[in-house]
C-alpha cells in the first residue's frame, strides 16, 4: 500500500462552528491520507463530525485550520492555527517576536491565497497546456482545417476556463429524495455538472448521460422522467450517475445506503464496487453501519466527538480494536444470529472513566505499522505491552 500514490491528504483539519459565545468543535485536528484506488471508511456516531469532514474536504465549508491536499495541490487551508500561534507568542513574549509574527503572517497569506485561488490556478494551468498543444498545430494548419482546429481550440479553452480542481472530487448524498431536484428531469440532473463545466454540445451530453445511466443499471428511457417516478434504490443510482459523469478521481459517499432497504442496499453497494473496479475510483466512504463499512473499505478511521481515535486496515481494526471507543462500537453491531445476539454484551464507553487526560494530553500514535490509536504516554505504554504479549 505504502508505495501507492497519495491522492488526498488531510492535515490537522479543524472545523469549528460558532454559536454565540460557544464554539462547537465539529472536527478537531483530524489527519489522514487516502491512497489512489482505495476505499477509506469513516465511522462514528451521529454528530461526531464524519459528514463535516467530508464536506470540509469538498470545500462546502471554509475550514478553520489545517490543510487539505488533493493530488499534491493545497485545495483548502485554514488560518486559525497561525493566529493562535501569534497570540500565544505575544503572551509568552518569546525572543525575536517580530520575526515570528512576520513568518506566521506570511503563512496566513499563503493559506488564504491557496484557499481562494487553487481552482483558478488549476484552470490557468490547463489553459496554458492547451495553448502549448494547439499553437504549433495552428501554425502548421491552413484553410478549412485551420478553422476547424481553431473552433476546437476555443471550445477546449472555454471548457478549461470553467474547470475546477474540486470537481474531481464528487459527493453522493445520504438522502436520495432530498438531494435530487424534483423539478428537473433525470437528464437535467445528471448533465448539470457537465453544462456548468462548459460542455455545450447537446449530442455529447446526451450520449454521456445515456452511458452513465446504463452504467448504473438504468435504461436511457429513464432520462426524461422525474425523480419521484423512481424507487429509493433507483434514485440513489441517479445520485451515483450524477457524481461519476464528472469523471472524478475521488468520491465522497456520505451514507449512501443508510436510507435504503437491505435488498436495495446490496444493489447499490455492488454497483459502487463494480464502478470502483472499473474506473479505479478512490472512495471516502462515510457510514455508520459497520458491517457495510467492513465489507466495503480497505482502511477505516473511527471518529469520536471530532477526533480521530483509531485508524487501521479494516481487518486489523476488527481483529484488534485498541481504543476503548472502537471496542464499544464493535460490541454494538447487531448480527443476524439470534443466539449470539441475545447473549451479546455491549461495552459502554465513558470517556471520563476511561481516560485521564488532565495532565498528559493524547495524540494519534502508530502502535503497529499502519495502525494508529489516539492515546497519551501512559496508555501508549500499556497498549504496547498488551501488543507485545499478543504477538
Amino acid at each position: 500500500m505504502s508505495n501507492q500514490e497519495t491522492l488526498l491528504r488531510v492535515e490537522h483539519l479543524c472545523q469549528y462552528f460558532k454559536s454565540g459565545s460557544f464554539v462547537n468543535k465539529a472536527v478537531d485536528d483530524v489527519s489522514f491520507d487516502i491512497k489512489k484506488g482505495e476505499v477509506f471508511g469513516l465511522v462514528g456516531e451521529s454528530g461526531c463530525g464524519k459528514t463535516t469532514t467530508g464536506r470540509s474536504i469538498i470545500k462546502l465549508y471554509n475550514i478553520t485550520s489545517g490543510n487539505v491536499y488533493f493530488k499534491g495541490v493545497r485545495i483548502a487551508a485554514g488560518v486559525q492555527s497561525y493566529k493562535d500561534a501569534i497570540k500565544k507568542a505575544k503572551e509568552d513574549k518569546i525572543p525575536n517576536l517580530n520575526e515570528f509574527v512576520a513568518e506566521q503572517k506570511k503563512l496566513i497569506k499563503e493559506a488564504k491565497h491557496d484557499q481562494k485561488n487553487c481552482d483558478r490556478e488549476y484552470s490557468q494551468k490547463l489553459v496554458a497546456e492547451l495553448e502549448a498543444k494547439y499553437k504549433p498545430l495552428l501554425e502548421k494548419a491552413s484553410g478549412a482545417e485551420k478553422d476547424k482546429l481553431l473552433k476546437e481550440y476555443k471550445d477546449e479553452v472555454y471548457k478549461a476556463r470553467r474547470t475546477k480542481l474540486v470537481t474531481q472530487i464528487q459527493m453522493i448524498f445520504q438522502d436520495p429524495i432530498a438531494s435530487l431536484d424534483p423539478r428537473m428531469t433525470v437528464r437535467e440532473i445528471i448533465a448539470e455538472g457537465l453544462i456548468i463545466q462548459g460542455e455545450r454540445n447537446k449530442k455529447v451530453i446526451d450520449e454521456k448521460v445515456y452511458e452513465m445511466l446504463e452504467l448504473v443499471g438504468l435504461v436511457p428511457e429513464h432520462a426524461s422522467r422525474y425523480p419521484h417516478e423512481f424507487s429509493g434504490g433507483q434514485r440513489q443510482r441517479i445520485g451515483v450517475a450524477r457524481s461519476i459523469i464528472m469523471n472524478p478521481d475521488l468520491i465522497i459517499a456520505d451514507e449512501p445506503v443508510s436510507a435504503l432497504d437491505v435488498s436495495v442496499q446490496a444493489q447499490v453497494i455492488n454497483l459502487l464496487n463494480d464502478l470502483r473496479d472499473r474506473f479505479g475510483l478512490t472512495i471516502l466512504f462515510i457510514a455508520h453501519d459497520l458491517s457495510v463499512v467492513k465489507y466495503f473499505s480497505d482502511r477505516i478511521g473511527v471518529m469520536y466527538y471530532g477526533k480521530m481515535v483509531e485508524l487501521a486496515d479494516s481487518d486489523e481494526l476488527f481483529a484488534h480494536p485498541l481504543h476503548p471507543y472502537t471496542r464499544s462500537l464493535l460490541s454494538a453491531i447487531p448480527l443476524p444470529d439470534p443466539i449470539y445476539e441475545k447473549a451479546r454484551k455491549r461495552i459502554v464507553y465513558n470517556p471520563l472513566a476511561e481516560h485521564d487526560y488532565s495532565v498528559d494530553k493524547p495524540s494519534l500514535r502508530e502502535v503497529r505499522p499502519g495502525h494508529f490509536v489516539q492515546c497519551n504516554d501512559a496508555e501508549y505504554a500499556k497498549i504496547m505491552q498488551e501488543l507485545g504479549e499478543n504477538v
Binding site: S263, P334, P336
Partner: protein, 722 residues
C-alpha cells in the same frame, strides 16, 4: 402464554386513481404477553399498513376488506373512534419512522412529553376508581349469595367488612405512597450524587450541574419519612439541602468543590442508610391505624410487622379471605354450569352454520342466542380475562357479515372479471399485445368462512372442556390473593396523581433513560434544535411515557447509528422485561431482528411468507425470499459479492396469479407462476408458504451465502462455548 393481540385474516386495500392496491392480503398472527414479534420485509410489503391498522390510523382511502384485530376482547377494526381514544397511545403506543413528522414543531419538547402524562393521569384515576368499585361490589354480592345464604345478620357483617376493606385499603395506599415517594427519592438521590460527585471530582461537570443540584435538593427534602430518613435527621437534611447551593456557588469560580462534595457525601450516606432499612407492611399497618384506635406500638420494624399480622388476621383477614374464597369458588362453579350449558348449545347450533347456503335470518338469530349464552359464562370474579369468550361474539359477527356481504359482492366481482377478460380477449384478437393482465376475480371464499365459523365454535367448545376439567383442581386460595392484589393495584391507581411537577420529573428521567445529555436544558428546547437521532429518542420517550401494553416500533432505529441503536434496543428490551410489554417490531435490518425478536414474520407483497421463532428463521429458513434477504446483507465476515435481489416488488393493483415472489426467485418452478402456495408447516412453530416444501418438489439447498453464514455462526458459538 396469554395472548395480548390477535390478528386474523386481515385484508386491507387502498383505493387509488389507477385501481385498487391490495396492500395486505390475508395475514394472521398472534402476539403473546411479553413477547416481541418482528415483521420483516422490503418497503411496500405491507408491514407499516398492518401496524397502522392495529393503531386505527389507516389513511382515508383504505378499505378494510376482512379480518379482525382482537385486543382485550374488542375488535379494533370495529370499535368506535371514542372507544379507540382510550386505547390509542395509552394501551397501544407507536414509535414512528420519521421523528420530525411526529413531533409538533412549535411546542417545546417538555410540553410534548408531559402532555399525555397529564391527560392520561386523570383518565387512569377514573378508570381505577370504577374498576375498584365494580369489583368490590360484585365480590360483596357474591359473598352474600354464597356465604350468608339468606342469613341477614351474616350479610350485614359481610357488607360491613367490604366497607371496612374499602376504608383501610385507601389508608394503606396513602401510607405506602408516602413511603414510596421518600424511598424512591432516596435511591434516586444516591444515584444522582454518585454521578455528579464523580464529575465534580474530575472537574468536568457540565453546564447543567446547577439544575441537577436543584433536583438533588428537592429530592433530598422529600426523603424525610419515618421509615426512610427518620424524623431525627430531618433538621440535618434540611440544613444540608439549604447550604448546598450556596456552597456550590462559592466554589464554582475556582472549579474545585471540596465543600460541595462533603455535603453531597453526607446526604448520600443518610439516603443510603434509609434505602437499606427494612420496610414495614403497610397493608397491615393501614388496618391497624384505621380500626384499633391506638397509635403504633414502639418496636423494631420486623417485630411490628409480626405483631400487626396477628392483629389483622384475628380481627379481619382470615374471615375475609375465607369468605372471598367461598365466593370465588361459588362464582367459578356457577360459570362452570353455564359453560356446560353453552357447550350443549354450541354443539346443537353447528348444523345451522353447516348448510349448503346459510339462511340469513336463522343464522343471525342463532348468533344472538349463542352470544348471550357465551357472555353469561364470564366469571366476573376472575381477574384474568378469558379472551376466547370475550372475542366470540365479535368474531362470529364479522364472519357472518362477510359471508352475507360476500354473496352479493362475489357476483359483482365475477361480472367485473368477465368483462375484463372479454376486453383482454378482444385486444388479443386484434393482434395487439395488451400491457396489462387480467386480475383474478376478487371473491370471498364462502366455504372458507363456513370453516372459520366451525373453527370458532370448536375452539370455544374445546376451551370450555379444558376449563371444566381444570375446575376441581383450581387453587382458589391463590386466586383470592390475586383478587385482593387486583383491588390493591386499582386503589393505588386512584391515589396516584400526576401533577405537573411529577410529570416533569418523570419526563426528565425518561429523557435521561433514552440517552439525552443535559435533559434539563433540552426539556426547554424546540424539536428543530435536536439532531435526527435525538429527535427519535424524544419520540421513543413520548411513546414510553404512557406506559403502554403494546408497543409498535416502525423502523425506530433505521436512521440511527450503531451505538445509539444498541442503546435504544437495549432500552426497549429492558422496558419489555420490566413492564411485560408486548412489542411489534417492524424493520428490514435482520441484525436488529436477531437481537430483539422472539418470533419473526417475513412479509412480501402483503402476505406472510414465513413465520417462526427467530431461531427457525435464522438457522432453518425455508422460503427463498428469506434466503434472499439473508444473503443480501453483509456481515463482518462477508468477502464475496453480495447477492442482491433482482427486480422490484410487484405492482399490487394487479396482484400476480401465483406466488408474488416468483419473478424474482431463482428457485421458482412452473407452479409458482400458476398457483399461490399454501402455508406449509415445518415444525410446531415454523411455517412457510413456498411450493419448495411440497412433497413433490425437488430438493434445493439454500444459497451459499446463507449456508456459509449459518456454518460460521455455529463455529463462533462452538468457540465461544469452550
Amino acid at each position: 402464554m396469554e395472548t395480548k393481540l390477535s390478528v386474523r385474516n386481515l385484508r386491507i386495500s387502498f383505493r387509488t386513481s389507477n385501481g385498487k392496491v391490495q396492500a395486505v392480503r390475508d395475514i394472521s398472527f398472534d402476539l403473546a404477553k411479553g413477547e416481541t414479534l418482528a415483521i420483516v420485509g422490503e418497503s411496500g410489503s405491507g408491514k407499516s399498513v398492518t401496524s397502522k391498522a392495529i393503531l386505527g390510523i389507516l389513511a382515508g382511502n383504505s378499505i378494510v376488506e376482512s379480518g379482525e384485530i382482537i385486543y382485550d376482547g374488542k375488535d379494533l377494526l370495529k370499535i368506535s373512534e371514542e372507544d379507540f381514544h382510550a386505547i390509542r397511545g395509552d394501551k397501544i403506543a407507536m414509535i414512528f419512522q420519521d421523528p420530525m413528522s411526529s413531533l409538533n414543531p412549535i411546542v417545546r419538547i417538555g410540553r410534548q412529553l408531559t402532555e399525555a402524562m397529564l391527560l392520561k393521569g386523570k383518565a387512569r384515576q377514573r378508570e381505577s376508581r370504577s374498576n375498584f368499585n365494580t369489583y368490590l361490589k360484585t365480590l360483596e354480592k357474591t359473598m352474600i349469595e354464597s356465604v350468608a345464604k339468606g342469613d341477614s345478620a351474616r350479610a350485614a357483617k359481610i357488607s360491613e367488612n367490604c366497607k371496612n376493606f374499602d376504608k383501610f385499603e385507601f389508608k394503606h395506599i396513602e401510607l405506602e405512597k408516602a413511603y414510596k415517594t421518600a424511598y424512591e427519592s432516596a435511591s434516586e438521590t444516591v444515584d444522582d450524587i454518585d454521578k455528579l460527585a464523580f464529575e465534580l471530582e474530575k472537574k468536568s461537570a457540565g453546564k447543567d450541574a446547577v439544575d441537577r443540584l436543584n433536583d438533588i435538593i428537592v429530592q433530598t427534602r422529600a426523603t424525610v419519612n419515618k421509615y426512610v430518613v427518620g424524623e431525627e435527621h430531618k433538621d440535618e437534611v434540611h440544613s444540608l439541602a439549604g447550604s448546598l447551593m450556596s456552597t456550590y456557588n462559592s466554589e464554582k469560580k475556582a472549579n474545585d468543590y471540596p465543600g460541595t462534595l462533603k455535603i453531597l457525601y453526607r446526604i448520600r450516606e443518610l439516603c443510603k442508610e434509609g434505602v437499606e432499612k427494612e420496610a414495614p407492611n403497610f397493608f397491615r399497618m393501614g388496618y391497624y391505624l384505621t380500626f384499633s384506635g391506638k397509635p403504633l406500638p414502639d418496636m423494631p420494624v420486623g417485630e411490628l410487622n409480626d405483631y400487626m399480622k396477628d392483629y389483622l388476621d384475628k380481627e379481619f383477614m382470615l374471615g375475609f379471605i375465607s369468605d372471598a374464597e367461598t365466593a370465588l369458588r361459588y362464582s367459578a362453579n356457577r360459570s362452570g354450569e353455564m359453560m356446560k350449558k353453552a357447550i350443549d348449545e354450541l354443539n346443537a347450533a353447528r348444523p345451522v352454520f353447516k348448510r349448503e347456503s346459510l339462511d340469513k335470518k336463522e343464522c343471525y338469530a342463532k348468533y344472538k342466542e349463542l352470544s348471550a349464552t357465551v357472555k353469561s359464562c364470564i366469571d366476573p370474579l376472575n381477574v384474568t380475562k378469558d379472551s376466547l369468550t370475550f372475542t366470540f361474539s365479535p368474531s362470529m359477527k364479522s364472519q357472518l357479515d362477510t359471508y352475507f356481504h360476500g354473496i352479493g359482492a362475489n357476483k359483482k366481482a365475477i361480472r367485473k372479471h368477465d368483462a375484463d377478460q372479454r376486453k383482454h380477449d378482444r385486444i388479443v384478437a386484434k393482434g395487439k399485445k395488451p400491457e396489462w393482465e387480467v386480475a383474478e376475480a376478487n371473491t370471498v371464499d364462502l366455504e372458507l368462512i363456513k370453516e372459520n365459523i366451525e373453527r370458532i365454535i370448536t375452539r370455544l367448545v374445546d376451551h370450555y372442556d379444558e376449563l371444566l376439567a381444570a375446575l376441581p383442581n383450581r387453587n382458589f386460595r391463590e386466586e383470592t390473593v390475586g383478587s385482593i392484589n387486583y383491588l390493591m393495584e386499582n386503589a393505588s391507581g386512584v391515589i396516584e396523581k400526576v401533577t405537573r411537577r411529577v410529570a416533569k420529573h418523570r419526563a426528565i428521567k425518561l429523557m435521561d433513560e433514552v440517552g439525552i445529555a443535559e435533559p434539563h436544558k433540552r426539556y426547554r428546547q424546540y424539536p428543530f434544535e435536536f439532531s435526527g437521532g435525538m429527535r427519535q429518542r424524544i419520540v421513543i420517550a413520548i411513546a414510553l411515557a404512557a406506559n403502554p401494553d403494546i408497543l409498535i416500533c416502525d423502523e425506530p432505529t433505521t436512521a440511527l447509528d450503531v451505538t445509539i441503536q444498541a442503546q435504544i434496543l437495549e432500552l426497549i428490551n429492558n422496558l419489555k422485561e420490566e413492564r411485560k410489554l408486548s412489542v411489534i417490531f417492524i424493520t428490514h435490518d435482520l441484525g436488529v431482528v436477531a437481537n430483539m425478536a422472539d418470533r419473526v414474520a417475513v412479509m412480501y407483497a402483503g402476505k406472510i411468507v414465513e413465520y417462526g421463532t427467530s431461531e427457525d428463521i435464522f438457522y432453518h429458513s425455508a422460503h427463498p425470499y428469506t434466503w434472499a434477504l439473508l444473503s443480501s446483507m453483509p456481515d463482518l465476515d462477508t468477502d464475496e459479492k453480495l447477492e442482491a435481489i433482482p427486480g422490484t416488488p410487484p405492482n399490487m393493483i394487479y396482484p400476480p396469479k401465483g406466488d408474488a415472489f416468483a419473478p424474482r426467485n431463482r428457485y421458482a418452478m412452473a407452479i409458482d407462476f400458476e398457483r399461490q402456495p399454501p402455508m406449509f408447516q415445518i415444525s410446531d412453530t415454523h411455517f412457510a408458504a413456498t411450493w419448495l416444501l411440497h412433497p413433490d418438489a425437488p430438493k434445493v439447498d439454500p444459497p451459499k451465502a446463507v449456508v456459509d453464514r449459518i456454518r460460521r455462526m455455529n463455529e463462533r458459538r462452538a468457540t465461544g462455548n469452550e
